[in-house]
Symmetry: C2
């Protein structure tokens, strides 16, 4: 097995920098669009054979150094009692936004077996893959943002109404989500995931003070428990320049950086006793290939060959991204980072 990714997570010296891309399986790939033609995203997630196939597509196409399970961070919400759907052009819509004590109390702390199709996809993938498999979950703040706002939000005002106005209710919801996520990540590891990533995509909305008060205890509840398994834990958010120290305290073997945070500066904030993952701007992949390549080299230059860097985008790959540019960037990372 190509274990570059796992060794980099442990900050071991590697022959070259490992590379994968968030959302590497998905809409920008023609193979994926062909599968999606007759099926919804959720149908793909719930059919282990298809989730497995979609997960493998970018490994075959680009020889990524890690696979990330094809799934969605919102999957746990449905069995918890908050069904959602993906509306065309709108993203996810939670049918009944959760905003009252009664609604929070009604949410079930599910057992991971209720998401058995995810665990089955992991077991299938482990038979196929020759690179490490990354499991994942959404972090409590990011899940709560969808639950409370009912979808992607511009101002997060409904959730902050609760956070600032009714901290007890806030913490009750966050604690439920954290316990669901903690168990879910443990179950993914038991099913065979070689590493897990916690996506706190929208937590950059908060000031450091609010992060420490309203989020960190719940993230820590998850990550300290999962880290005890010995499996690498990747902890990612966007807009987190001023939260990196606090995120590191909350947990993670490797911290993710978005494209706004200069990698060298961000790693300094986190501390070099943790790994970093990132941080090419995903929109750079729309530029001419040679420009994308030069930006990718700059990311590697910022990491300065220090052990513990995993090359990735600063956020998920966007629909419409040219496949050829993805391939060129992956090849560049592999060649340019090779230690002589």
């Amino acid at each position: 097995m190509n274990d570059l990714f796992l060794r980099a997570c442990r900050r071991e010296t590697t022959e070259r920098t490992p590379v994968w891309m968030m959302r590497q399986a998905g809409r920008y790939m023609p193979e994926y669009r062909a599968l999606r033609e007759k099926r919804t995203l959720i149908e793909l997630c719930k059919t282990p054979e298809l989730a497995c196939e979609v997960t493998l597509q970018p490994i075959r196409a680009f020889q990524m150094d890690a696979a990330i399970l094809f799934a969605d961070i919102l999957l746990p919400l449905e069995p918890m009692g908050a069904p959602f759907s993906f509306e065309k052009g709108e993203g996810p819509v939670v049918h009944s936004p959760v905003r009252t004590r009664a609604q929070v109390d009604a949410l079930r702390v599910i057992e991971p077996e209720e998401l058995g199709y995810v665990l089955e996809a992991i077991r299938l993938l482990k038979k196929e893959l020759n690179v490490p498999l990354i499991g994942f979950a959404g972090a409590p703040f990011t899940l709560a943002s969808y639950l409370i706002e009912g979808g992607k939000s511009a101002h997060y005002d409904q959730m902050k109404r609760i956070m600032y106005g009714d901290p007890d209710l806030w913490h009750a919801l966050m604690a439920k989500l954290a316990e669901v996520v903690r168990k879910y990540l443990h179950a993914q590891i038991e099913a065979g995931a070689d590493a897990v990533q916690l996506f706190d995509s929208w937590v950059g909305q908060l000031s450091p003070r609010d992060y420490v008060e309203f989020v960190a205890p719940h993230v820590s509840h998850i990550l300290k428990s999962v880290e005890a398994t010995g499996v690498p834990v990747l902890h990612f958010g966007t807009g987190t320049a001023l939260l990196l120290k606090q995120q590191r305290e909350a947990g993670g073997t490797v911290l993710g950086l978005d494209w706004r945070t200069p990698l060298a500066w961000g790693w300094e904030q986190i501390g070099h006793d943790r790994g970093v993952q990132g941080n090419l701007d995903p929109t750079v992949l729309f530029a001419p290939k040679e420009i994308a390549i030069s930006h990718a080299k700059r990311v590697l230059d910022e990491a300065a060959g220090r052990p513990g860097h995993i090359f990735n985008l600063g956020h998920g790959i966007l629909p419409g991204t040219p496949v050829d540019t993805v391939r060129a960037v992956v090849e560049t990372v592999k060649a340019y980072s090779a230690r002589s």
Copy 2:
């Protein structure tokens, strides 16, 4: 005239901290909604008597220490040749997004007189006001985001395609926008504005490196010229924690901070030889009044009574904000900051 705001802009010691709120005139006020019932936002902007009335509403209701002209950052786009409208629930929509060399070349560098209704509103306001009047404009990056994306964007991928892929075209567009804004702000000052604010609301999308390369020269073109008039210039963006030093270099008597950047830390980055404006989270105004008040006091505590702080929100006030909480926060700032 109450000139607390202007003296704070010059970092003079004041009896107390001046306070105003971005978007203080608008949808959260019943007086405004009554006027809007039979008119569009653009109709209000284009009728100087009504723009004047709307500007005065929050001064009467809350005794703010500064008035900000009721207008919209997109107004210059229409005479430049890029008409837009506000679609219900969607925000502004530019009818033909500008993405080609021919479209950029076709944009006109307008004379400010083509926005004569704005200048007329300023002249009317100067007869009515007993507090300073702030004029404003959108910054080139933020205007370009609407022009290129066609509206508010999630990923700014269309604009970054041009920025990274065709820097010549990017700079041509930015230079045109910068020259329009420069003249427009000068004209507002000549009409009577006591200060001006440049809104670079979405520039926090960029890394510091990209800001310096793609934005700073154009902001600097505007601000160095406007600062030469001696009128205070407020320079504002959101998500700018890592851009503050570069924004300060680009210009501004006072730099604006959003709620994510701790005020004391942000001011340190900017340097204490500039003022700061901010930075209460606008969503805090939805919390119970005593919580909003305690957050407002914390903002003042972070400023530590240092001359040069102007109390404001970290971004515009949101629709639905309770008027009573706005009043309570304004009164708190005035009383709590009073120097004995």
